[in-house]
């Protein structure tokens, strides 16, 4: 046994320099660098150029012109403001509903698994199908939800064609698809709350709200923050639902920043400028990632 131990140590320190762990890790990281760092530096380079697609690709160095333009561009500013509103509304509603639904499911005695499985279904759906299904349901001639809203007198105009309702509709589509994810995460947190402490509090006469506030809330706080971060990063990642429903309209009311970027690049072919906008978005997601990794470290998970 002692022999194998030294043998192994010899292999670890000598034997071609790299340990097996490193031999497994480094080639894959090299590939990831090609896939991620290369495009990353390339988009920085693009943002410093006027990029044209006419007659092949041509780059013309423009210095910080795209950047200067971005910080004074009211249309882009408005798209950021709308993105902030969309972001706060979707993630906010998803968090509140998700936590509430998780608390309800957690109290169930019978059929907990079945209820959870059914509630999770929307989050496996392609966002583009959610958007198209949303269009179908709100179609002013044939849509089921449009019909219900019309017959009950709640809303009678074209839902996705009216400025006031279009934003609400796309927000609700996102809420429909992603609230289940918050439910799933919060339920995992609730499952780890110490049952003995809950029982002891019950014996001491603490009612449900008091237990929620003093025992449950502190113990699921970390998990709730994780849910918030995961949803935040995805809220700026995906833009499929809006693309296939309103594509930013009517009258720019749903034109959040990724939609603006996409049309700048692939409709106006102003790719250098779009790159600057894209880097702005990247800064946001790097901030989210920073907080996320901090939390992982604090929970001892990013060993």
């Amino acid at each position: 046994m002692a022999a194998t131990q030294t043998d192994r140590d010899a292999k670890k320190s000598g034997g071609g320099g790299l340990s097996l762990e490193m031999k497994m890790l480094l080639p894959v990281l090299a590939l990831l660098a090609v896939l991620s760092l290369f495009p990353f530096f390339y988009i920085i380079w693009m943002s410093l150029n006027t990029v044209s697609l006419i007659n092949g690709i041509s780059f013309e160095f423009a210095g910080l012109a795209n950047w200067a333009r971005m910080f004074t561009d009211e249309v882009v500013g408005a798209a950021w403001a709308r993105a902030a509103l969309y972001f706060v509304a979707t993630v906010g509603i998803e968090m509140v509903l998700g936590i509430a639904i998780a608390l309800l499911i957690h109290e169930l005695v019978w059929g907990k698994n079945l209820v959870l499985s059914l509630i999770l279904l929307p989050m496996f759906m392609a966002p583009v199908i959610v958007g198209l299904l949303g269009r179908f349901l709100t179609d002013s001639s044939y849509g089921l939800y449009a019909f219900v809203l019309r017959e009950t007198g709640i809303f009678e105009s074209d839902i996705l064609g009216t400025s006031s309702s279009a934003l609400t509709a796309v927000i609700l589509m996102d809420v429909w698809e992603w609230t289940p994810l918050v439910v799933l995460i919060v339920l995992a947190g609730l499952a780890s709350v110490n049952q003995y402490v809950i029982e002891a509090a019950k014996v001491d006469g603490a009612n449900y709200l008091a237990r929620l506030r003093h025992i449950v809330a502190p113990s699921i706080a970390g998990v709730v923050i994780v849910a918030l971060l995961v949803r935040s990063m995805d809220a700026i990642r995906y833009f499929d639902i809006i693309t296939v429903t309103t594509n930013g309209g009517p009258g720019n009311t749903t034109k959040i920043i990724p939609i603006r970027l996409y049309e700048t690049a692939f409709r106006f072919f102003d790719l250098g400028y779009a790159a600057a906008i894209g880097l702005g978005m990247l800064v946001f997601s790097i901030l989210v990632a920073t907080v996320f990794v901090r939390i992982l470290e604090r929970r001892g998970l990013a060993k």
């Binding site: 046994m1 194998t4 292999k11 097996l20 762990e21 490193m22 497994m24 890790l25 480094l26 894959v28 590939l31 990831l32 896939l35 991620s36 495009p39 990353f40 390339y42 690709i57 509630i119 999770l120 279904l121 929307p122 496996f124 759906m125 392609a126 583009v128 199908i129 299904l133 179908f136 349901l137 044939y142 019909f147 429909w176 799933l184 995460i185 995992a188 499952a191 994780v226 995961v230 990642r237 833009f239 499929d240 693309t243 990724p258 970027l261 996409y262 690049a265 790719l271 978005m281 946001f284 990632a289 920073t290 996320f292 990794v293 939390i295 992982l296 929970r299 998970l301 990013a302 060993k303």
Partner: protein, 281 residues
């Protein structure tokens, strides 16, 4: 006497809970059921101004998709692009995830941060440089191009999650195997890898779901010869003057397989979807 009243109150509480959850389930399930129902509805019932619930079911929309709509080749493209990128991501993710979990080096947290921020990068910002780079190397409108595009998010995801699963295993198991004569690689392959099978399957399924469901990458890169199902669905909506029958049929085809495989790994989902931050049941 007191026991019956408490259990009566408990029963009442449960009844209220189920009543609220029935509403939540209606909100969740009505759109899905309506989509599936509509995909079997004949055209006349489809175009009725009031909702039709009872009708003679028909497969005409599914048939039309396959005969006139070229759906078979889109389906194949989706399966190949999502499947191959998943296989590559999970294989490499296993190797690198294990390497990361078992090695200690300076700057490891920076590497971890880089991996996770790659996964979190906004799709719109990733699509842009890739579009130009793909034009240079002729990867636009090709399946290999889509596979590479999907690897940009599946590879960092697979490395990160497999790292979390491997980090959970006590290294003493592998050490014991090596004391018994196994090589370092055998300790990984024969001891550690089988123990993370649930994690491996979950990672594979999530990679599959993410790439199968992709719209933005395929909408930008794919052309006539590499079109996937989500693109076909979106184009149906604009080209053929809104055939809701075909649209709900293709929606059903896209959605059902992912729901089935997703629920199959429900126990481990939370781990995967929180990038390892939350452990399930």
């Amino acid at each position: 006497m007191t026991t019956t009243s408490t259990s009566g109150r408990k029963l009442g509480k449960q009844a209220v809970l189920y009543a609220i959850l029935v509403l939540v389930l209606l909100w969740t399930l009505v759109p899905i059921l309506w989509m599936i129902l509509s995909s079997f509805k004949p055209g006349t019932a489809q175009l009725s101004p009031t909702p039709v619930f009872f009708f003679a079911p028909t497969f005409q929309h599914y048939a039309a998709l396959f005969t006139g709509g070229n759906l078979g080749s889109y389906f194949l493209n989706s399966v190949l692009a999502a499947g191959i990128s998943t296989i590559i991501a999970v294989t490499l993710g296993c190797l690198a995830g294990y390497g990361l979990a078992r090695s200690h080096f300076r700057g490891k947290q920076h590497v971890a941060f880089w991996i996770i921020s790659t996964r979190m990068a906004p799709i719109a910002a990733v699509v842009l440089p890739l579009f130009i780079l793909f034009r240079y190397v002729n990867l636009l409108d090709s399946l290999p191009g889509l596979i590479v595009a999907y690897l940009t998010f599946n590879l960092p995801f697979a490395i990160w999650i497999m790292n979390a699963f491997f980090a959970d295993l006590p290294p003493s198991l592998e050490e014991a195997a090596m004391v018994d004569g196994a090589s370092r690689f055998q300790a990984f392959y024969r001891v550690a890898l089988p123990l993370v099978t649930p994690g491996l399957v979950t990672t594979a399924i999530l990679c599959l779901v993410f790439s199968w469901n992709d719209y933005a990458f395929a909408a930008t890169f794919a052309g006539p010869s590499s079109q996937t199902l989500p693109i076909a669905a979106a184009q149906l909506n604009t080209q053929t003057g809104l055939s809701w029958g075909q649209l709900t049929a293709i929606g059903t085809i896209v959605v059902l397989p992912m729901m089935i495989v997703g629920l199959a790994v429900r126990r481990y989902l939370v781990r995967g979807l929180t990038l390892g931050a939350v452990t399930g049941e």
